[in-house]
């Protein structure tokens, strides 16, 4: 359902800045920043706008969305795909984004093992029968460490012009603060969670009693995850349909790591070779260039200077070949960070980069091919 659009219509008088929807998203993000969950599911993800924001949170490695309406998810799901740059510069973390088509009234094993489950403006769209099953599915079955549930606060409605019964024709109910809190406390008690209440969309001064425009309950599971107990007792069948899945390129994936390392090794070697060759090619070659060397931004030349002091790490030329010791290359921060250990470096570039016979140095040809014309 389209939350953003409908709220825009009444924010004209009571103006929330940033918009209420943005505030809800920001709330979730702050929560993510605080608890650093690795696996996050958004129930009722609609046009995936919250997921789109969450994919930038660097702690999250698994993101899932669930919605009853496949077409609304599909409309913008491609925006959850990796960007070209994600392929060009694979990130350190891994990230998988999956969208499922299904109901929160049904259990599906793909929803197990999450750290945070968000239900933003979801429950008020549920039919009575679905709402009844909802706590068992989310708290009983999924049983994440944290659940966030937001829903409209009906006490705020008189302040919103144009709202007759509910804020949205698809809403099946809208609760006041007492109603929401009693439902939430009961649910929390039943499944051994603690709950705290807050909200976004502050009421105007003097009317604090009506409470936030959107009320939010943050549920935290009291007992640490007992894990198997719940899950093993009844293996559930998959009922959701996966409509989208994107695996982001990551350096955790050997394939991407290898490409990145090889690329960095050869590039570093090329730079060292270039330096070496231009040094050999007579000093007085190019006075214009030499005189104005200010290495303020020039991290490479500084760095090389320091390096060469150490023995066995000096690159050298033999015939048509330049030898750049792997140890030298490994000492460059970028290579170092990527590989971690020298052994790993050797393993990753084995067979992919031309090495000296003893395998201790990268070998590059000094031949400079001439262009005609």
């Amino acid at each position: 359902m389209d939350k953003n659009l409908q709220e825009e219509e009444f924010t004209q008088i009571i103006k929330f800045k940033p918009s209420l929807n943005k505030q809800r998203h920001q709330f979730v993000r702050d929560l993510v920043e605080k608890y650093k969950p690795k696996k996050v599911a958004d129930l009722g993800c609609a046009d995936c706008s919250l997921l789109r924001m969450l994919k930038f949170c660097s702690c999250i490695e698994v993101l899932a969305g669930l919605d009853i309406c496949a077409s609304v998810m599909k409309e913008k799901m491609h925006t959850l795909s990796p960007l070209p740059v994600d392929y060009l510069q694979p990130s350190e973390r891994s990230l998988t984004v999956t969208l499922h088509h299904g109901s929160v009234a049904h259990k599906d094993p793909c929803m197990l093992g999450f750290d945070l489950v968000t239900c933003i403006e979801l429950i008020e769209h549920l039919e009575e029968s679905e709402l009844k099953k909802f706590p068992e599915v989310v708290f009983g079955f999924m049983a994440p460490s944290i659940v966030v549930i937001s829903t409209p606060n009906s006490e705020f409605n008189p302040l919103l012009p144009g709202v007759m019964l509910y804020r949205h024709p698809d809403h099946k109910f809208e609760w006041n603060q007492a109603q929401f809190q009693s439902w939430a406390l009961e649910t929390a008690r039943c499944y051994d969670y603690s709950v705290e209440f807050t909200g976004v969309g502050r009421p105007p001064a003097g009317m604090e009693k009506v409470g936030f425009c959107t009320q939010i309950g943050v549920f935290v599971r009291k007992s640490p995850r007992t894990g198997e107990s719940v899950q093993s007792e009844k293996p559930t069948e998959a009922v959701y349909k996966t409509v989208f899945k994107a695996v982001y390129p990551s350096l955790k994936d050997e394939k991407y790591l290898q490409t990145a390392v090889i690329s960095e090794v050869i590039f570093t070697a090329q730079i060292i070779k270039h330096r070496l060759m231009s040094k050999r090619e007579e000093y007085g070659d190019d006075p214009e260039r030499k005189s104005k060397f200010q290495p303020s931004m020039d991290c490479f030349s500084d760095y090389l200077g320091k390096l060469v002091i150490e023995k066995n790490m000096e690159p050298f030329v033999n015939g048509n070949e330049v030898y750049i010791p792997l140890a030298t290359i490994f000492s460059f921060p970028k290579v170092n960070r990527l590989c971690g250990t020298f052994e790993k470096l050797c393993k990753l570039i084995a067979g992919k980069v031309t090495l000296s016979s003893d395998g201790s140095a990268v070998m590059l040809n000094t031949e400079y091919e001439n262009e005609e014309n």
């Binding site: 389209d2 659009l5 409908q6 219509e9 800045k17 993000r29 930038f56 949170c57 660097s58 491609h78 925006t79 795909s81 990796p82 960007l83 070209p84 740059v85 392929y87 060009l88 510069q89 144009g162 007759m164 949205h168 024709p169 698809d170 490409t259 090889i262 690329s263 960095e264 090794v265 050869i266 590039f267 090329q270 730079i271 007579e282 070659d285 190019d286 006075p287 214009e288 260039r289 104005k292 060397f293 200010q294 290495p295 303020s296 931004m297 020039d298 991290c299 490479f300 030349s301 400079y368 091919e369 001439n370 262009e371 005609e372 014309n373």
Partner: protein, 798 residues
Amino acid sequence: KTIGLQVSSGLQDLSLRDRGGRRRDFHDLGVNTRQAMVHVQESKTGLSGRMIKLTTNHFRLTSRPQWALYQYHVGYSPEMEARRLRSALLFQHEEQIGKTHAFDGSILFLPKKLENKVTELFSRTRNGEDVKITVTLTNELPPTSPTCLQFYNIIFRRLLKMLNLQQIGRNYYNPSDPVSIPNHRLMVWLGFTSSILQYEESIMLCADVSHKVLRGETVLDTMHSLHSQVGEERFRDTCAKELIGLIVLTKYNNRTYRIDDIDWDNNPKGTFRKSDGSEMSFVEYYRKQYNIEISDWMQPVLISQMKRKRGNIQGSVALIPELCSLTGLTDKMRNDFNMMKDLAIHTRLPPEQRQREIGRLLNYIQKDDNVQKELRNWGLSFDYKSVSFTGRVVQGEKIFQSGNMFDYNPQFADWTKETRGVPLIRAVPVDNWLLIYTRRNYDVANTLLQSLFKVTPSMGIRMSKPNMIEVDDRTEAYLRVLQQRVTPDTNIVVCILSSSRKDKYDAIKKYLCTDCPIPSQCVLARTLSKPQTIMTVATKIALQMNCKMGGELWSVEIPLKQVMIVGIDCYHDTVSGRQSIAGFVASLNQTVTRWFSRCVVQSRGQELVDGIKACLQTALRNWFKWNKCLPSRIFVYRDGVGDGQLNALVNYEVPQFLDCLKSIGTDYSPRLTVIVVKKRVGARFFAEIGGGLKNPPPGTVVDTMVTRPEWYDFFIVSQTVKNGCVAPTHYNVIYDTSQLKPDHIQRLTYKLCHMYYNWSGIIRVPAPCQYAHKLAFLVGQSIHREPNLLLSDRLYYL
């Protein structure tokens, strides 16, 4: 305020649905030039030459008989503004409208006809407001209508997206299987270009393999390495030269931006005004919006000009170098022989492999259920086998040089060997010349001199000893020597440069092309350092020097009399001042071996065509001087016409040519032919030889099947390639009063591909186009203003 709701032709609104809302008609649809040329109404095909069996990368589109697209106008009462709301309200009635549709907010396309011409639907908004939607049939589009073709293209793009290909610019690429070239920090993505057009007999999909070169580094990385290369002094300048004009991708969205400027006074701590009017720093914005921490707070900010309004953002966009990745190649990279060689291994696919890759795309399309469903819903399908037909290979040309006649081996399309040691048609003596070198290159200079003395006599060139001048390796030193030693009697200046640093080269060229118009030849010392190639190099240099002084090398038979051939090409300078330069070259003699060359330097906002008109006038005057009469036939080969610019050419440039001819005299009415030359075309041809696919031989002409019915056009494969697929050149005759048969126009065009003196072989385009290109490039890259007209009767820019 209400949205304009006029019922438009649909074409513009349709293109709005295309990404980026480009309104340009890339395929020059609806420019019908053939109808004005009576002599090609019946047939535009030639007959000469031997037949050759060809296949191509075109695939027939088969739609069901009577296939039509139904265009509806959708109106709302009361008026609804938001496009999303309009869609949502309309598609509440999906059972009536159907699941297959394309809707841009006011125009709806359906593959089926609704029962009534006007359908009224009633929806309710979430606020309980009742809305009447009126869906009115405005058009039934036959499959060949431009709107329908545009529509096919959009549908096809949807399919590519469904196949999880990534859109970069106009094409789609597969990111999951990249080729990495670590030596140069490049990545190559394989992708596809596609276009669906009405061709001679049927609507076809033209699919070709496309390679996107991406760089595995951010703009900031590039800035760092530039800094370490050039130092502080020239840092900003170099950054501007290297980066402006490049297309970048960002870390946080799927858009591409062009770098138009670098704001050195700004940095990530700087603020910008958000759409809601509040100020925010870049650092804060990226942290808040995307959780991205900018690590370097001292970097400058890149500026990208928005071509059109996007929402309420207008004008320019600021980008952070650290968050941008570069795409494509710079001119500098293109000139890097090693880099291009390494790239070519991956991008130059031989015919078989190329066809296999294209086959793979069609295979994906065929295998993907969702894609097939989408196609079925629109009633579309493709022939998965590419089109085959017969082309013609026209006869090879004879090369004439001082009374000798040569055939060349058509397999190589090159006559370097055949003409070696044969006197040139016109050898200009080199009596008075300068040879300038640095101390370090003294030996190299002597080697060059000795080699020149060896190779020139057999060419018929008389060469005296030069003034040997040693200089310091500084730009000012070179210039001082030129100022002191060049006299009006100097035939040519040869400079040996020790590095490929552009500023020295530019300064020398600028001085000797404008202030002191004397031909010049620059040679890199490195090129002369290999003993095994020195004779070849010296031969080439001698030939080049001869041309620069007004010499002539060889000729082919040109049967037409009193003919002037014109070549025009453009160079767009994206860095300094954004000027455009048109090179203009016109033949001066019967044998088409001497050329008059001028160029037009146009700054922003000016029209190139005014300058071109003036060039044509002076060219005619010069032709008159040389031949004592005016040409009775003029052929203009116009290169450098972008996609979608054909209309402008037909409606503005051609009338200007005619105007110009009229202004010469009332009794002067030569026959004029204007041919648009296009090197960048999607079509590829493969010759079926011995059961395999090979490149078609030079001289292959295609003027059926894959040409356009509304044009008088043809393809010629004139050059050969060592590896990869040969690209045919497309020729579109947009104006023709020559009364010549298509055969003759095709033959003349092919002959002219033999006349480029910097290459003793056949080239891709007619020589005048290549000369015009060379000239425009030199002026655009190095000189930046019009060279001295005293040089205009020589190929000084070769």
